[in-house]
């Protein structure tokens, strides 16, 4: 798996998590990602992901008027999207734990027996 592919799956999860907090439109989403530290990303990267997530019915969108400029497209999670977020969190925790163990040279049995 290439870094970009790995990133995509992770970004999907991050987008779901941000959208779960509140309804957001594209620019806000990109800004939030940047605030959380994903600042090397091209901001437009989120749109193909949003298109796919919409196709997979993980998110829905409504268009709302803004004070200046054309209508903004706001995203919110569907029930399926919330489920997917749960799955992502599970996968992420599993991955994170294992990667950390590898980096710290621990094995799964070390932890269950208490360190020793």
């Amino acid at each position: 798996m290439s870094t970009t592919q790995m990133m995509k799956g992770i970004l999907d999860g991050c987008l779901l998590a941000i959208i779960k907090d509140r309804e957001v439109y594209g620019y806000e989403l990109a800004e939030q990602l940047e605030l959380y530290g994903f600042d090397a990303l091209s901001e437009g990267t989120i749109y193909p992901l949003l298109l796919r997530m919409q196709k997979e019915e993980l998110v829905t969108s409504t268009r709302k008027k803004s004070t200046a400029g054309p209508k903004r497209k706001y995203y919110s999670l569907t029930a399926k999207g919330e489920q997917e977020l749960e799955h992502f969190i599970g996968r992420w925790e599993y991955l994170q734990t294992n990667v950390n163990r590898v980096l710290k040279h621990e094995t799964a049995s070390d932890e269950s027996q208490g360190r020793g």
Binding site: G26, S42, T45, Y47, L51, K55, A68, G69
Partner: protein
């Protein structure tokens, strides 16, 4: 209300190219509108904060357009509509032209050739628009690509005329009654298609195809010159018309 001038020329160019790219990739026009508008909002806000277009679309606009395109389903229904219009439209034109010369008769080769060339023209048009919008071409290169696009079908049509003289295929004679029926069918077809597709594309293209040859035929020019000139004007005009339509769509 918003002024489009708020966007930099570079962003506007990107949005225009994206629209043409997605259109020639056969995407649903309402979905194209939606994503272009969404990116327009994004680019406007980003530019207000002093961000460059590259910060949004990355360093390869083409790669980014492809990413978007990959996530959008193709609109086969609309494309079927366009293909029917173009192939039958080109037929109805040839028919309209030949009607002025009395009862119709065509060889099988001519009939098949028209469909094939129509198909080549459609594929060529889509490929050319996709290429132009995806790659940052200079104006001259753009004109070059469009010239090739218009010259290739002309070459094929001229080739078909000579090939048809050299090769014998069964000829279908329409007779007087058949010719009148065909003429009526053409009129019904043109009116019907324009009404159904809610577009003036066919009448405009038909006019571009029929009028130059008819008008030039009234002049003292010899037949060969009339043929070449009128074909050039016709296909050049259609190319330009389609390009204008594509560009104008973003203004809707």
């Amino acid at each position: 209300m918003y002024a489009e001038t708020e966007l930099s020329a570079k962003s506007r160019k990107f949005l225009e190219d994206l629209r043409v790219y997605l259109f020639s990739s056969g995407k649903h026009s309402d979905e194209i509108d939606e994503i272009v508008e969404e990116l327009e909002v994004h680019l406007m806000e980003a530019e207000q904060k002093g961000k460059s277009v590259e910060k949004i679309v990355g360093h390869s606009p083409k790669a980014y357009m492809e990413q978007l395109s990959d996530e959008m389903p193709a609109d086969f229904k609309s494309w079927f509509k366009y293909i029917v219009i173009i192939i039958f439209g080109s037929f109805s034109f040839t028919l309209a032209n030949d009607l002025m010369e009395g009862p119709l008769s065509y060889s099988l080769l001519e009939l098949a050739g028209h469909v094939v060339i129509g198909g080549i023209f459609i594929v060529g048009t889509l490929t050319a628009f996709k290429y132009i919008s995806g790659n940052q071409l200079s104006k001259w290169k753009e004109i070059g690509v469009l010239s090739v696009l218009t010259l290739v079908p002309i070459g094929f049509f001229v080739g078909l005329i000579y090939f048809n003289r050299a090769v014998e295929t069964p000829v279908i004679h329409f007779g007087v009654a058949g010719t009148i029926l065909t003429a009526m069918a053409i009129v019904v077809f043109i009116v019907g298609i324009s009404w159904w597709a809610k577009t003036w594309v066919l009448p405009i293209i038909l006019t571009l195809l029929v009028l130059p040859e008819y008008l030039l035929g009234l002049t003292a020019l010899d037949q060969q010159t009339v043929l070449v000139l009128s074909t050039l004007i016709s296909f050049g005009g259609i190319g330009i018309y389609l390009f204008i339509v594509n560009r104008a769509e973003r203004a809707v």
